[in-house]
Amino acid sequence: MTALVEHRNEGAVATLRRGLRMMPEFRRGLPATFALALMATAGRVVVPIAVQQVIDRGLAGPGGPDLDLVRNVVLVCAVVVLLTVVAVYRMNVRLFRTTETALAGLRVRAFRHVHDLSVLHQQGQRRGSLVSRVTSDVDQLSTFMQWGGVLGVVSLGQLLVATVVMAVYSWQLTLVVLVCFVPLAIAVRFFAARLAVVHGVVRERVGDVLAAVSESVVGAPTVRAYGIRERTAARLDRAIDRHYRAQVRAQRVTAAVFVSGEFVAAVANVAVVVAGVLLGLDGDLTPGTLVAFLFLVTLFVSPVQTASEVLNEAQNAVAGFRRVLDVLETEPDVRDPAVTDPTTARELPHTPLGVRFEHVTFRYAPGAPPALQDVDLQIAPRRRVAVVGETGSGKTTFAKLVTRLMDPTEGRVLLAGIPLEQVAFASLRQRVVMVPQDGFLFDATVADNVRYGRPGLTDAAVHAAFQELGLGDWVAGLADGVATRVGQRGESLSAGERQLVAVARAYVADPDLLVLDEATSAVDPATERRLTHALDRLTDGRTTLTIAHRLSTAERADEVLVVDAGRVVQRGSHAELVDADGPYARLHASWRRSSAGEPQPTA
């Protein structure tokens, strides 16, 4: 089993580069969007230009004020402003469309990829975090790209265009302005580092608050039973308070960064006035130009302020992006040969399937003790085999290897003589079906859930399937028959009834090899009887490998495999094994004792 790839310490730029590689949709529309963004900045410099023109040529024209010229200048500029509106609107729409399309693509790819990863079924507790990788992590990215990203790009464009305009007016004053902003440009690096630290602390504190809140909710029975409300409240208040203080501290730094731009702008204004007047005395500068410069300086301030606002957002987004990319870059443990190597991919023959394990060893992680060790055995077609053993003996690993949820570390598994890694998934999943311990049901009707095993089946056919399994009376007892909705995760049904639906689902899939991971939760006797009966019908004529948690199942099997510490230690029919001196006889004796109501010997 592979753990998720993790790039926790990767730099933001590296993450972005990695991400852009994975989002071809994003790159496609981008150049045009950037071109529009540059046009968008035109609207911002047009006003200072108008001011200059009006002052120098309109009011101070040689023949007195020239109102026609003013009208023309204003008209042209107004048109430019309106065109800018259109350009920005187009840019925004393009940007929203490209980013959302790219992110939807990313979302779907990550979703599909998660299904290929074994973490999903190996580590149930990590499912929540996997869900957030296709939901909130992507959402955060979208917020950032459309808000922060655009602002960043437009701000940069604004700096560029403003500088060009200034340089055209007066290179001397441009130099003066740039010199004023140099310290700020240098300080930005330092600011960014400070901001990263304080926002990092805030994020950490948010985590603490979440943990504390969950104590008051998930731990509600414990908190009440032990009368520790005060203590829990104190812990919560402390977490909330620490979060609050971190927020205030972050706000202080953000505000300081924000105003630094304002201060530099004031200094630049002073410098422009002083230098402008001195230059103007020599006749090198018109009043309009000087005033226009003061307008243009304001365009220099906002990028710095924007940066202080966007940075936190950017950090969150990059962290989220990294998590999504880590999922995408985690190699699946098993791959469909029909995809990776179509020339060697094979179909399973349409005959009852025999199973062969060739010196199979499996470890969950390199260096871990083997879950299965050097298992070498053959199961004839149509046999019903029960695998028994204590918890942790490795019997579930059997099921996972034979369904190719995982590949052996050493050795190989063959079905009908074909090595599993050569069998195309389409063929494998059609012919080999597993009924897991918890037969998960979707929030849909009973029929929909059964059809999941064979799409396109009609309700009537589903109904017939239940009849064939001897479950007709159970279906008849449901409010709407097979059209009854089962609720979220099938919770309107009891655990045993969910299992009945799972059996029907496997039955309509009509596999040649059936792998049953027997449910461990006890069900009421009536459902138990139904289930046993239905399972008999299901396994009839199919090669069946049952991971047995009850010895009664072993009694009914053609053959029993006893697993202990990763090895098959005994094999034979129940009748043969129960009288032989060995682990099976001991397991069975202990079961008999406890069924008779005697306490087990305390080991």
């Binding site: 402003v81 039973a225 009368g227 998960f440």
Partner: protein, 596 residues
Amino acid sequence: MPRRRDAVVRRGMRHVGRAIVEQPGMFTLAFLASSLYGAMTVASAYVLGEITDRVVLPALDDGVTSAGALALAAAAILGVAVLKILGILGRRLFAGVMGYRLQAAYRRRVTGQYLRLPLSWHQRHPTGQLLSNANSDVEAAWFFVAPLPFACGAVVMIGITVAVLVATDPWLAVVGLVVFPLVFVVNAVYSQAMSPRMRRAQQLRAEVSEIAHESFDAALVVKTLGREDVETRRFTARADELRDGLVAVGRVRGLFDPLMEALPNLGTLAVLLIGASRVADGATDAGALVSIAYLFTLLALPIRAIGWVLADLPRALAGFDRVTPVLDATGETPHGTEPAAAGTGGAGLGLRGVDYGFEGAVRPTLSGITFDVAPGSTVAVVGPTGSGKSTLAGLLVRLVDPATGEVLLDGVDLRALREGEVSAQAAFVPQGTFLFDDTVRGNVTLGADVPDDEVWAALQVAAVDDVVRRLPEGLDTRVGERGATLSGGQRQRIALARAVVRRPRLLVLDDATSAVDPAVEARILDALREHPANRAERPSTVVVVAYRQATIALADEVVWLEGGRVLARGRHEQLLAEVPGYAALVRAYAQTEVAA
């Protein structure tokens, strides 16, 4: 529709008022700072105009200037800038503190309710919902506070601007009187168009997340039936809808942003057009023209702040509406005044005609439960899934109160006991193990002052002392959600030690050893019965919801629960012989257990 818009606007304004009423001091400070900022913004434009008139034009047109005039100009620019900066700092800090305080206060109130409200309330609300009420909903409710003083300051600034305009030139004032109302109109139209689109996007987000949850939970079924592509298609369909929803949001925002930026720019151009002819007529001078044009440029940002607040109000209301029911929920558990019977040995327990039903349940969960548990005895409660065993266990330690009937501890109704008395006498280990985000010691003592050797003794009774000894930091190892990795059985045993260390007179175990090996479980139960420090004392009374024969067999008596009623009581062997349902169930469990 207009009626609903009015409602949203009115409710939004009331919500804004609520924020101000809750944090009047901070709001006032932030508002004053914003106003200072606003006034200084206007002042900076005025200064610019004056400098144009008095320094720039004379110097550049007539070639006269003085160091004094230049120094004065520089001082004026810097002075105004410093005041403006103070305004910004104050605005951001005070507004930030205001918003964060509101968040913290509401988080405290919400979680205070979580701790105060009875367990029956918790059972009616999904965990995920309660978590998001305290976190994202509270945050959404007060998010608009950050730009609120800025927006109020902007209103002030607009007021000053209009006054300056009127004072300078009535014709220029007309420009302001056209542009500013337009700003409000565009804002109103924007929030109007935005809120249904936002709601839809939010809804689709939830649906996408639901599909991902369900599909990932179903991983084994999906995989073993080879349905990954079907699942991906299902997910893609919804992800595409979400994309379209977000693009629809983007269209509105994409138009709003440039419009809001263009309005002040167009205002500036109008000022130039009208102003130039006024200057030509000699009604005003170039300096005034420059200062007003500059003012419009500076106003662009504060005007946006108004939009930020308005645009966020629908979201804030939605978040607040989710938080309110929690704050308004009532049903604190009332306590009596009686002390518990003084005693050290096992407590006596009695149930008299107890009925209990979850709110909204079709049939009562428990009905007519009557039985006694003798001090120092061990009773097993056995029954099929859904028979009401856990509810019964919760009643015994007053996690919930019966609808009718009474639960007696040493003959006293639990409801008559003083606060804290039940938890002092009884310990309960619930079905789902819960470990706090704390050390092993903290999880066992729960903050009580317990010497380490007693903690170790409790861990030993729970058969987990060896495990703890092997942990990197022993008792000081952090466990819980984000702590050391322990197996389910180990976590359960630590939770058990938590109960044992208190030497309870009544110990209620709700299937609290399900993940523990049967052999270890038997050892634990034996140890529990012998635990009293003084062996001469009566042992604790133990009520255990049990599945395993081995556990049940240790009990002095078994209570057989089916469909919320006690259908039989007696010794295990007796029930096995006399109650077919009991025998069938116990056997089924036994078969499950041995090979598992």
